[in-house]
Symmetry: C2
């Protein structure tokens, strides 16, 4: 790298910026929608980044030798597609199919294009993914750099500051964010418009190396990219003053132009110079050595039955911690993330054993999920744990991880009223609904220690978002003997006879309530079947339907709110059958109290099941 | 207010701090759990705030003349309950019932105690509620102050910085946050431990007046409270250096002590001086004049049919904007919040008409919801609008608003694949699940302009969380004639005959697809009933069951993912009936494309309905 900028190169990059503007205008005009003015403000940033600064192998979008780029201001997607065309990795025809159903060039970037690592478009999320990538590169000993282009409007999102805080604490000098300060949001001026000092002082206070530049000055931008701060190990924020709509006077800085194709296309297009560059336009290839922690051969977790032998009850959280540690042994590509509760979730087992593959994310769940999305994009397998309730804090990030087709494994502890005395703020009671309602997700709830191991093998088998719902209390080991098989979409029938009059469908702690209830019912001469739906999504429809047909009476009991959980999943499966179905669930905001008092009060304990049966 | 602190008073406040410590220790010991060490670090902060600084009418917890206090570090609840006992508004007996089922003194504060305005315990949320209260006081011309006590660990949450940013931009000099920097989170040291300068520089960069104090020095604290910055209109952050577990040497700063009752109770209790104060311990009463915008007499929105006469199709978003504006006319206690998309949600109608009751929250949805929770706690009626997908950003805040029994009215626009070309990041496809899965929520989806008005009246009727799901496209006005009634838990049968062979159950845009399908089916000699489930929760179980019994064949179609939406709600209602039920829904991550292309591809359009019928 050099701080001397060749003049010819500068001129080419200026020409390229305008070519990118023209193509953004053309594609959004063709589509009839899109955000041309948001593209115009970052044209020089994009031309300098992609055609001078970054190293990218054009023949391999997924090369680990590539520098990483994340378009956090995802609505500027058209200019990214224009970059791909200039680099020769996509065509003009593809460019003009922007936003069409069969095109990979969507309104906001998604990994349907191989040139996109993480989906963006929900603002303020890109920086966390960038922190993840930069952290992984650093931990794996690669010298890549990560560049995240943010809009100024999205800097209002708290997730930006979660990411900024951790990035400096982790010493990510290989990370830069360029903030395209065009002064406008969707509806009007941003809070700070062109007061660049606000952004500088905030990034500096968050431990960053912050540089103010004119975002339309190619030389200034190239110079800024030379100022990565490896010495003090600080990430770099380039605060670029820009003009929204820059290049077409009628669109410049105008309110109301956001998110619309230009009204006077021909006039606008003619306003932007159309010139040829002197040099050849291409990505600068990378010949970096790629070091990486390769995944080992696939092998499954084995349940250490001797470990739990003789124990009457085992904490599911402790079993999770042990299983996670074992998984870390089996697979070098498994990483663990936690949000300041590793001594509650027991991810501390992994942390103690593999500190180099553990990421303490502190109390910032959005950034934790965003970082893990970055890790997943680079091919590792992240496990994330915290209290289930606090995963709702990152719902939008999890939603976007699903759009990114990320391979994230979540464990949510402290679920249901079984959480007890800490009260409703700490109880996950909507988590099944949240995780079931993600395309391609796998949702599991173990009911004992062996089941934790079985479910975690399924999580490894599944590619996509997986969720393990781990209750807080210790529970009896149901399957310390026997040879139980676990499968995605499976269930275990724990109790059954030819004379069953009712089937109790349960999951997690309610399996134990159901077994107690079955015992009490047996004393009254009623035989009850007990089905443990450890796989909540997909759910074992075949077994449920067979049971409904055989017995005709089903009782569902779950430690979750009514909607979107086990009950609705079962009713949906049984929709075409005749079956008397009762559903017990938590029907109001709970409160502090003991597990037994709460499960009694909310009508999901053994007594309630007996009553309902 | 004076900066001269009487010595006797200082001594009393020191004595009180220790009394609060003792009671926190006693109650957590009795409960067998809780967070005594987190209480100890803020004992002087609590004694000085409540027994010198704040004005609170002990006989009226809900008086608008009171200063406001929010315990953002909700796990320190025991010390707040101890304050209530010292002030004589609660008893020692109540104190010792901490965390019991019948007690209002929960593990984390909830409004089951009248002395709690908003529930806390999910960290990082209290400051937003405080910003809301301080903003409302300022807009309504009251001179109250708002005090938010934060832990240092929770300052990692981005929501803190969303709140901090808006608080300074709004000039909330009536707001102070005290950060109890005890240096420890749950598992170990926080990222910055006792580096107070980090906190000071961040708050200053966010436009705050920031003061570092010794948090165990009563005089220093009292002095800091005098430094509210009314002149420069800045909120004040008091960065208090404290010791976790302060007062009991064996617990001081020790890792692993978080969230546990003290192991050696007697010894610990004896370590804390037990003294009587010289002066009488009581809240300092407030005799502030209470000015407030009173709610007007209840009256309903009327659908302005003449406004839409002759229009073939009307944008539901525009109808929402008009209805919101009309509601603003009818009710002085209605406020509107939006997150930089008021020109998409059309809350701009309200903003233009009632700027003094509009809160532009910028791109920071968590803080938007947190502020509105503060507004609701002080008795106003907040409407919040943004893209439905982005409400998932604030899921945890919405969850906590439900725990707070807040009266929030949400409108989520851009729902389903009907959103079109912008792509999956902008499409609300899990929003019904998210809002249904909140205790006591009301979930509505209008299918035309009249229905928007009808549904908004129901939202006003309901106390709790309401959600209005507003699709992006313009749709035909189905009910411009006729006298339709709307009720919570109602539905409209739009098409029916004696010979119906199938009932199509739809909501929102799919009602229009269903009507198209019914027309096509009629041509094939098949009569279809069409039911518009505008009330998704509660859902019209009676009508659905009656229909199932009459027709025996139901086809559900929704522009939402499979789980937790209309389909599962209907199947749950019909669980005890025999009925052939088919469910059409969006079954994978969508992409960019036109509304018609996407609804065709995901099998929810009229053609798909005809095929399925």
């Amino acid at each position: 790298m050099s701080t001397i900028v060749k003049e010819s190169n500068v001129r080419d990059l200026e020409i390229l910026a305008n070519r990118l503007r023209r193509d953004s205008l053309r594609s959004t005009n063709e589509a009839g929608s899109g955000h041309p003015t948001s593209c115009f403000s970052c044209a020089e940033i994009m031309s300098t980044l992609f055609f001078d600064e970054m190293e990218v192998n054009a023949d391999n979008a997924k090369s680990l030798a590539n520098d990483h780029f994340i378009l956090s201001k995802g609505h500027a997607a058209p200019i990214y597609w224009a970059v791909l065309k200039e680099a020769g990795v996509s065509t003009d025809e593809e460019l003009l199919e922007l936003r069409e159903f069969d095109s990979q060039q969507e309104g906001h970037p998604t990994p349907r294009s191989e040139w996109v690592d993480v989906a963006t478009g929900s603002l303020g999320q890109g920086l966390s993914a960038g922190v993840g990538m930069a952290l992984l590169d650093k931990r794996e000993g690669r010298s890549n750099r990560t560049y995240v282009l943010c809009g100024d409007g999205e800097v209002a999102e708290g997730s930006i500051w979660e990411a900024a805080s951790l990035a400096s604490a982790m010493g990510l000098s290989n990370l830069a964010t360029i903030v395209d300060v065009n002064g406008y949001g969707q509806t009007g001026e941003t809070l700070y418009h062109h007061d660049l000092e606000v952004y500088r002082s905030r990034f500096e206070a968050f431990g960053w190396n912050a540089i103010i530049v004119d975002g339309h000055d190619v030389e200034a931008l190239l110079d800024a990219y030379q100022q990565f701060d490896y010495e003090q190990e600080r990430p770099t924020a380039i605060i670029a003053k820009t003009v929204k709509g820059k290049g077409v006077e009628s669109l410049e800085g105008s309110e109301g132009a956001h998110g619309k194709a230009a009204p006077n296309f021909e006039e606008a297009l003619n306003a932007i110079p159309d010139e040829e560059t002197e040099g050849k336009v291409r990505f600068k290839p990378s010949d970096r050595a790629v070091t990486r922690r390769e995944p080992n051969a696939e092998s499954s977790l084995e349940y250490p039955s001797d470990k739990y032998e003789g124990e009457e009850s085992v904490s599911l959280r402790k079993a999770f911690g042990s299983a996670l540690e074992s998984l870390g042994e089996l697979r070098d590509d498994v990483w663990a993330f936690d949000g300041d509760v590793m001594n509650s979730t027991y991810s501390q087992n992994f942390q103690k054993r593999f500190p180099e593959r553990f990421v303490e994310s502190y109390i910032a769940e959005q950034n934790m999920v965003g970082m893990a999305t970055g890790f997943s994009a680079l091919g590792t397998v992240p496990f994330l744990s915290t209290f289930a309730a606090f995963l709702s804090r990152a719902h939008d990030q999890i939603r976007m991880a699903a759009v990114s087709r990320s391979n994230l494994k979540f464990a949510g502890t402290h679920v249901g009223v079984a959480t007890g005395e800490d009260g409703p703020s700490q109880m996950g009671l909507e988590d099944i609904a949240m995780f079931r309602c993600l395309p391609g997700s796998l949702v599991l709830q173990p009911s004992d220690a062996r089941s934790v191991y079985g479910c975690m093998n399924l999580m490894m088998e599944h590619r996509g978002i997986s969720y393990l719902r781990v209750a807080r209390p210790s529970v009896e080991n149901l399957r310390s003997k026997g040879n139980w098989e676990y499968r995605i979409g499976g269930s275990h029938t724990l109790l059954s006879s030819e004379e069953d009059e009712v089937a109790i469908v349960a999951s997690g702690v309610t399996v134990h309530y159901a077994l107690d209830a079955a015992e009490q019912l047996a004393k009254k001469g009623v035989n009850a079947r007990v089905i443990d739906c450890y796989s909540l999504k997909p759910i074992d429809g075949d077994t449920l339907r067979k049971t409904a047909e055989e017995i005709g009476k089903i009782l569902i009991v779950e430690d979750h709110y009514k909607e979107g959980g086990l009950g609705e999943a079962v009713c949906h499966e049984l929709r075409n059958l005749t079956c008397s179905t009762t559903h017990l669930y938590v029907d109001d905001v709970p409160r502090s109290g003991s597990q037994s008092r709460l499960s009694e009060a909310f009508g999901i304990d053994a007594k309630a099941i007996v009553r309902a049966a």
